[in-house]
Symmetry: C2
């Protein structure tokens, strides 16, 4: 583990680099509750911007927000057969509703008289409680579609946790929609996949593959699970969001029917879709470097930071005045700016801090710069800097740069994925490729059976990430079994 | 209980009126989990606007958001003596972390092998987990102040619940700040009281009394609890938000010290402050009437709704065109508008629906109006309407009306409070006043002892809501004990 503000380099130990970056860039830290993290202010501000952007996209596509209970009666989880079979059983279980003062001394103990008749599960996902509610909300086709989203915390008792990527408690949104027809529900599931894809690419600057999961990787209870998959710098894939076509499974389990236009009762068609604080992990592992986080400008909570440089009071006043003037101009153009005028910290400390925290553009101005009519502009994504004339209109200089950075970051990530996506045509080649430093996406023929899929995973730990939506049809043979195949699928080691 | 969309009148049964309004205006409903509510889309949209406004006010006063774990180890609750003594013990307790398939049949059971070593409590409030975290964040005076807020769900296992006012799970924000000096912490607690007061008055249109709680009504662990108190239509008080000066209690319990400028270790000073979805209850019970909810324009998610009136298709097109044109003009001035062009509903149904949901202004336009160059404008707060000329610039007509409505709603609520605040000088008068239909705020002398306070509550169920901040000093005698008193305090029956 590296000391002070220095991070372990990615090449040295990628996992250490990640954990140190998360902690030192003030994104999150482990709490005293096993598997639960504290999301620190800098990390939470980034998550807030993700939320705001996504929330706007959900509302633009006709969705509204609501809030359903944190707790789910245990019996609800048993109602949908695939859901109970397939969903992980690692859940937080509430069994009692009262504490009492310890009769033998200090502190509190659980009151044994306050046992719940039926245990409550802290929601790991909300299909069951929501569909038991929808039953009362849906009578007629006029009540459909129901297009509802929830921002919430959920708990899955993961054994091996890692900040943002896999934690016992995490924050997410879960959309749950109800439709009169299969066609409409399928279109909704697909629409939300593209909302996620567009968000990942345009806001986070993360190129993603939009695809469909194989049967064995489907969400428990879904007929189809769509996914966006990204490739991290270390050549492992990260599932960034999923959208499920649930058919009539939950409607049947919770007896949710509606009168159609001919006044006949039909079961409702459903989708659900979600992204979580895991996106923070995707963001970090797509863009950051050995000096810390790199935020794409569209997402950055601070896009431009000014670091005034001075020794004497009169220098301070002059330099700060200029920084404030430039900052004000940027702000009035809607650019998010901070002037770091903290006197208890030195400029070098501040340079390091904002580099670690990923602010896209840093502008330093000292008395000599002022005298020469110059400023130093540093770009986080390229670790480059230039001294330029103090502009007439700073917005004209900075706004194009921010756009350029956003594009460059996406292009770099895309190139990384392209460079590390390989067509594989034999089992030997496949095994070899997985041993590489950056294993990447491996596009290979698969015979379409869950058995072969499981076998490949057992032998290599690689999984089928998805069958891309726009997949080329091509005759071939499964690399392991030699059985015929109609198309390649994307394998990778994954988080 | 009233039928269809009709509500029980307030005079008939205030509690029924409230419950029916909450349900029929699509604000919330009880869930299948005891004491937990489902916040429905219309209710949640109002809460979202409350959140946005408050969040902006918090940020303008230098606060940032973060997120701390849902769970608190049981032992943490025992660390601050007053907190453990004073805080209610009704909490949801997590004892297990896994389910398993029932070996005897269908469904799931709790896995007895998955018992937690230490039980986890679903947070009823987060002082303990947050101060155990702050310990690692605070070393020096340079780390202070720490001005952090959290938006979260909390659980208190209330026995008697009522939607928004008292539910097992509720949504809230909790600010937790750390300061180097007592003075600064006291100023923070007071500042946030005023943020709450201003928000209640300017956004919600609810006049509030800003005051300090008596010792027995303080938050468990606080040295001072400040409160904003409002008077509901039925003459009962509702506590709308509290801000606590916590002294060094939590810093001492969790050993949080800092090196001051002289490099000496001192304990940190603390505040905490919160408002919750209870504000939804305050909003409803301050402004609404027997026809449903009434939203103040500043808060309303839809400020103006257009209801086009037509029979034939050609009428529909003409009328809708005009509505859309006017709506567009309002939107571009930042006014929140909806054109209700749903063909499956009749105008009468829509009138009733938007009345129930509290939209401040409703504009109806039919073919005859169009021919005459008129529109019908209805105002929800006064249940009045007028036919006016179709204006050149609709913004010039509507914007002043919205401002006027906001003021009128506040003024009406203020008058209600003033009319129902009484100076009480004898015990007989006090008992008599509490028997009134609208008991109101009773301003009376109190001898300052918790014993007398408890006695009065026991005899009348009235409690001391607060000692107003700007309280006049006046010699008098306690109405029950006859002991000397320096000032009057505010009594009321309360929610």
């Amino acid at each position: 583990m590296a000391k002070g503000n220095q991070l372990t380099s990615r090449s040295e130990n990628y996992a250490d680099w990640y954990n140190e970056l998360v902690r030192k860039a003030d994104l999150a830290e482990n709490s005293e509750v096993r598997g639960c993290m504290v999301i620190k202010p800098w990390g939470y501000a980034i998550w807030e911007r993700m939320q705001q952007t996504l929330d706007g996209m959900f509302k633009d596509t006709g969705h509204v927000n609501a809030y359903f209970p944190l707790f789910i009666p245990k019996s609800f989880l048993s109602k949908e057969a695939d859901h109970v079979e397939g969903f992980a059983k690692e859940c937080a279980v509430v069994t009692h509703y009262r504490l009492k003062n310890d009769p033998d001394g200090k502190g509190v103990v659980v009151d044994p008289d306050a046992k719940l008749e039926e245990e409550l599960i802290v929601r790991p996902t909300s299909e069951t409680i929501i569909w038991s509610t929808y039953k009362n909300w849906i009578q007629s086709y006029r009540d459909l579609p129901l297009l509802i989203n929830q921002w919430a915390n959920v708990v899955r008792w993961e054994l091996r946790t890692r900040m943002f990527l896999r934690t016992a408690e995490f924050l997410w949104q879960e959309g749950h929609t109800a439709h009169a027809t299969e066609k409409e529900a399928r279109e909704e599931a697909m629409q939300m996949l593209h909302v996620y894809g567009d968000f990942a690419e345009n806001t986070l600057g993360i190129p993603v593959i939009r695809g469909v999961k194989t049967e064995s990787e489907r969400f428990a209870g879904a007929l189809d699970t769509y996914t966006i998959e990204a490739l991290m710098q270390d050549g492992k894939a990260l599932q960034c969001g999923t959208s499920h076509f649930l058919g009539q499974n939950f409607a049947k389990a919770f007896d949710v029917t509606f009168a159609n236009k001919d006044n006949k009762q039909e079961h409702v068609w459903a989708t659900s879709w979600g992204v979580s604080t895991r996106l923070m992990g995707a963001l970090i592992m797509t863009h950051s470097d050995d000096s810390g986080l790199i935020l794409p400008p569209v997402l950055a909570t601070i896009q431009v930071v000014f670091v005034p440089i001075y020794r004497k009071d009169e220098e301070r006043q002059m330099v700060l005045e200029k920084c404030d003037e430039l900052a004000k101009a940027l702000k009035s153009a809607g650019i998010r700016v901070k002037v770091d005028d903290d006197d208890t910290k030195k400029p070098g400390w501040k340079f390091n801090e904002w580099e670690l925290k990923g602010v896209p553009v840093r502008i330093a101005i000292g008395p000599r710069d002022l005298a020469n009519g110059k400023m130093e502009v540093a770009y986080r994504h390229s670790q480059s800097k230039e001294v330029v004339d103090l502009p007439e209109n700073i917005v004209d200089v900075i706004q194009p740069k921010l756009n350029e950075i956003q594009k460059a970051m996406y292009a770099k990530a895309l190139k990384h994925r392209q460079d590390n996506t390989h067509k594989i045509d034999s089992w030997e080649q496949f095994q070899e490729a997985l041993k590489a430093n950056v294993p990447g996406f491996l596009s290979a023929h698969w015979d379409g059976t869950p058995d072969t899929e499981a076998k490949i995973q057992e032998l290599t730990k690689a999984t089928i990430r998805c069958i891309p939506l726009d997949n080329e049809q091509e005759d071939g043979v499964d690399m392991l079994t030699g059985k015929p195949s109609k198309q390649r699928v994307l394998f990778a080691k994954a988080y």
